[in-house]
């Protein structure tokens, strides 16, 4: 737990499996694919191909065709690599089952776009008398849509192919609009839509750069989690993205846009693994207050709390660990024991001294890193270590005797802490549990659904521990220690960089990440400034950086969050 580039490597593969008292059930997902590393062969060169994520796909459709057009279907799951789905985008392809889904989704979208109620606004032309097949109309449609969908202008041959497909299909189906839908389906299924494929551009100061269109995509997906809009595409067409000062003006405009909050939400959703909440299940008899609606709102609560602090109020990232101001609604109120008068979302301020303060005391964190029927200090501690400190926790040994530590009805070991303590008497267990459990135990006054409690089996719960050689008592106190510690900052900066680049850290990233770290401190740890600094870095636009990203010793090589 030292500086930016001295992360613990551990055994590399960081799947804490049946580690501790409370881990085992989660092993449920032990072989979930969202875990760890891709083969070494994939890690040895900088990818120039990223698959767009499901939220990005959905956003593209809404941006281009409007919110009336529904995206219906199941997407191929995104893959978490090095703790981020964004990094996984440069490892995944599309399987045959996945392609079938993309094609089905695409046809459904295309049929809606050409449907009579949308065609006037979305197609905007019909075959003219002089051109009964509709060649000119199809050409107009694809001139407009091609640019938006492929995020670059169509090549003449591509345009011709789309027009030809439209006309041939229209003849086969006896309907011009059905023909358009067919060609549109092809566009939506094409590699240049489903993947972001970098194209090389002119060098800048000796650096190989991507072209203006690829720059527009990098900026847009990073800052907005969306494809480039017309403003950005126009700027790319004029070559503005190739000039640093014009780029800076565009970045300022983009950060000032309301869409910037979407980009920040997308980053934190990925960074904090909030997508996993969709699969969160709690035992309805043990936690009757918890439901899938609570889970979805708990994620929304965290994201609203974050954008309020970091975007609307341009706040200090470190305050996320201590903030008493939290988004709230009527669904969540009962679990927080907070009365909510308003309909919809509002903000609640916990009083000084309240046990709820900071990210660690939010239900999205507490419930996600628990079992269906009980808490898990080990899972919670592991999540803190891996997600927020970028540490790697090795897997547990295979043959562990869990009997004592997990007997919840043990008459003498009534609390989870007492049962876990038994683990620390075993040297092999202790080496990892010393890393995870103390922080997790600090959160024990919140049950598996994130509700406050003071006792477990009639015993008072002890939430004392130490972090970075400092003693603390309780989740709020742990949050205050995080607020003052450099490691969560280092972890955030390198994670934001990896998110922006969609790949693992490489040796050549070291100078830029070090500079970003220094700048972040210099601007008072404002998230907005970190994102701006990345967007203004020439390295952000580099095409296949010069030296291959060999894995550096001492770096977090593989997984962060395990499958639990």
């Amino acid at each position: 737990m030292k500086g930016t580039f001295t992360m613990k490597t551990g055994r590399g593969i960081a799947i804490l499996l049946a580690a501790a008292a409370t881990v085992p059930l989660v092993l449920a997902g032990a072989d979930r694919p969202s875990i760890a590393a891709v083969p070494a062969s994939h890690a040895d060169e900088a990818s120039t191909v990223r698959r767009i994520t499901e939220p990005q796909y959905r956003r593209a459709i809404t941006d281009i065709f409007g919110a009336d057009i529904k995206v219906v279907g199941r997407f191929e799951p995104d893959l978490r690599v090095d703790g981020l789905l964004a990094v996984g985008t440069s490892a995944v392809s599309i399987t045959s089952g996945g392609l079938e889904q993309y094609e089905t989704i695409a046809r459904n979208i295309a049929e809606q776009v050409v449907a009579p109620d949308h065609r006037a606004s979305l197609i905007g032309c019909t075959p003219a008398a002089a051109d009964p097949a509709g060649s000119a109309c199809a050409g107009q449609v694809f001139d407009r849509l091609g640019l938006r969908m492929l995020r670059r202008p169509l090549a003449p041959a591509e345009r011709a192919a789309l027009v030809a497909t439209t006309l041939e299909s229209a003849r086969a189906l006896g309907d011009f609009h059905a023909g358009l839908a067919a060609a549109l389906t092809g566009l939506l299924t094409s590699p240049d839509f489903l993947f972001r494929i970098d194209r090389p551009g002119a060098p800048e100061q000796g650096r190989r750069m991507v072209d203006g269109w690829s720059k527009a995509s990098r900026l847009s997906f990073f800052l907005w989690n969306a494809p480039p809009d017309e403003m950005l595409l126009a700027a790319a067409a004029k070559g503005e993205l190739d000039r640093p000062e014009a780029r800076a003006r565009l970045v300022a405009t983009m950060i000032a846009s309301p869409r910037f909050a979407d980009g920040v939400r997308a980053f934190f959703s990925d960074f904090l693994h909030l997508d996993d909440i969709d699969l969160l299940a709690k035992d309805a008899r043990i936690y009757p207050a918890f439901s899938s609606a609570v889970a979805a709102d708990a994620r929304e609560q965290t994201l609203r709390t974050i954008t309020d602090l970091l975007v609307d109020r341009q706040g200090d990232y470190r305050d996320l660990f201590t903030t008493r101001r939290i988004a709230m609604n009527r669904t969540l109120g009962p679990l927080y024991d907070v009365p909510v008068a308003e309909r919809g979302w509002t903000f609640h301020q916990f009083p000084d001294g309240d046990p709820r303060a900071g990210l660690f005391t939010q239900i999205s964190f507490l419930a996600q890193h628990s079992h269906p029927g009980r808490t898990s200090p080990t899972l919670r501690g592991k999540a803190i270590q891996e997600i927020l400190l970028c540490e790697t926790i090795p897997a547990p040994p295979a043959n562990v005797n869990f009997a004592v530590v997990q007997d919840v009805d043990n008459p003498t070991l009534k609390t989870t802490r007492a049962r876990l303590q038994a683990h620390l008497d075993d040297e092999e267990c202790a080496s990892c549990h010393k890393l995870t459990d103390p922080m997790g135990l600090a959160l024990e006054k919140f049950d598996g659904a994130g509700q406050f409690r003071t006792t477990e089996h009639g015993e008072a719960i002890d939430t004392t521990g130490s972090f970075a050689d400092t003693h603390f008592d309780g989740a709020a106190a742990l949050g205050r220690l995080f607020q003052r510690n450099p490691q969560p900052i280092d972890c955030l900066v390198q994670s934001t960089w990896r998110y922006a680049m969609g790949r693992r850290l490489a040796a050549f990233d070291k100078p830029v990440v070090a500079r970003l770290n220094a700048d972040f401190a210099g601007t008072g740890y404002r998230m907005v400034d970190l994102i701006r600094a990345i967007a203004l870095s020439p390295q952000f636009y580099e095409y296949e950086p010069a030296s291959p990203p060999a894995r550096m010793a001492g770096w977090p090589a593989l997984a962060t969050k395990g499958a639990m």
């Binding site: 055994r11 032990a30 045959s96 392609l99 041959a157 389906t185 494929i197 269906p372 593989l558």
Partner: protein, 452 residues
């Protein structure tokens, strides 16, 4: 980027030229897979197609309560195997087949199932090298049907899958009966027993559109590095496969005697707790019956069914402690010598397996049943879950594979590698392979006892 429309143009002319659709060459072309072998050689011919599938459950068993004492036919059924009594004549039990860790660490609930599926234990699924053996078989036999393979999970999670092309390419599962129904018997379904057949021009157009996508392949692959090229190539292979599937839709399908389009299942209640054992079993049974009909209707010849995750996600609603936790924390009851609760969970896994086999056997086909024309390999991630033991991971086979397999036997592996199972299955399904597995797990010895 020059575009060549000749192939698509030709296809479309078939339908544009007149009322009747005569699509000679392009369809023949589509019938050829990457190896140039004909897709549909056995479909519609005399022999019934032989199907292959896997069935996975997590948390293994308790050896003394599971492993038969007697060998060969008419093996005894210890308590955990008691549920398979009604289907015993169809099921072979393979015990004592091991994962050789070969100096590697035993990653709990990972080493065992990666080894059984890929022939070498790996630390994560992302670290595996090659395809899982079910994919090698699906590549061999899956081409002639609409779905090359169907991946299913009864737990509601599309990420619960043990079928991988490589470490970053998992075959996501269909996680619900309603979704399975929609995929198989939805708008693309053509009843093989329908009296008349008219090719739908929509399929021609869809295929033509995908051909246009395929044409971008060469130019794109030339632009990217080797790892990206492999990824894009996989994407284009998926596109080609889809073209092949759509071409199949233009041919009159051969009749399938047992094929009856079933009613759509009711969607699962939003509050249904699929981690609860009984709810899971009910969902699994529904999916098994739909799968059986999908097979009978020749919609696929390969499948992977996941009953639970590795390390089993199952539990009993209302209990703080789930199955997997229980395997580690329940004390052995000294009066009986085993973990009582774990034992009861293990029995329920086998109830689900027996229901799965029965669903396949229930469909009449030819002189026998659908099951007679199948080979199913069932296995878990560990043997004795309490210790994450990967020696003697339980394996069961079901079906006669069209007469190629002798069912109903107990075979002991005596510490031989579990890769013998994967090798045997591949050879039975026609994969040209004489040895399989890595390092200590490499084997060239199929399990001859079960081969007819």
């Amino acid at each position: 980027m020059a575009q060549d429309f000749s192939r698509r143009g030709f296809m479309l002319k078939g339908i544009l030229g007149g009322a009747s659709v005569t699509l000679g060459l392009p369809i023949l072309d589509a019938m050829l897979n990457e190896n140039g072998t004909a897709f549909a050689a056995t479909l519609g011919g005399a022999p019934l197609p032989v199907r292959f599938g896997t069935w996975f459950w997590g948390c293994g068993m308790i050896p003394a309560r599971f492993e038969p004492k007697s060998d060969g036919a008419n093996y005894d059924l210890p308590p955990q195997l008691a549920p398979i009594e009604p289907v015993r004549q169809h099921v072979s039990v393979l015990t004592g087949f091991d994962v050789m860790l070969d100096g590697k660490g035993n990653l709990p609930h990972i080493s065992g199932n990666t080894a059984a599926r890929t022939g070498a234990p790996a630390d994560t699924w992302q670290a595996i090298e090659g395809p899982t053996f079910d994919m090698l078989i699906a590549d061999q036999i899956g081409g002639g049907s609409y779905f090359r393979s169907l991946e299913l999970s009864a737990d509601g999670n599309p990420r619960t899958s043990h079928s991988f092309r490589n470490g970053s390419s998992m075959n996501a599962t269909i996680p619900s009966a309603a979704e399975l129904y929609q995929r198989i018997f939805g708008p693309d379904f053509r009843d093989p027993n329908a009296a008349s057949f008219t090719p739908d021009p929509k399929f021609i157009v869809r295929r033509s559109v995908l051909s246009g996508v395929s044409e971008q392949r060469a130019a794109l692959l030339a632009r990217v590095g080797s790892a990206d090229r492999a990824r894009l190539d996989q994407y284009f292979t998926s596109v080609r496969e889809m073209e092949g599937k759509l071409a199949l839709q233009l041919q009159k399908p051969p009749p399938a005697e047992a094929c009856v389009r079933p009613d759509a299942p009711a969607p699962l209640r939003a509050s249904a707790d699929l981690t609860d054992f009984e709810t899971r079993k009910a969902n699994h049974k529904l999916m098994a019956e739909l799968l059986a009909m999908a097979l009978a209707c020749n919609q696929t010849r390969a499948f992977n069914m996941n009953f639970s995750t590795a390390a089993s996600d199952l539990r009993t609603a209302g209990d703080t402690t789930g199955y997997h936790q229980t395997t580690h924390e329940e004390l052995i009851d000294r009066s009986v010598g085993y973990q009582r609760v774990v034992d009861s969970f293990a029995v329920r896994n086998m109830e689900a397996w027996a229901e799965f086999v029965a669903a396949m056997a229930a469909i009449r086909e030819g002189d026998g049943s659908l099951l007679d024309n199948m080979l199913i390999v069932a296995h878990s991630d560990v043997s004795y879950a309490k210790n994450h033991d990967v020696a003697g991971i339980p394996v069961m086979l079901a079906g006669r594979a069209g007469g190629k397999v002798k069912p109903g036997l107990h075979v002991r592996g005596a510490g031989e590698p579990i890769t013998r199972v994967g090798l045997t299955a591949q050879q039975l399904m026609g994969v040209p392979v004489d040895s399989w597995g890595t390092d200590a797990m490499r084997t060239n010895r199929p399990i001859n006892e079960i081969i007819a």
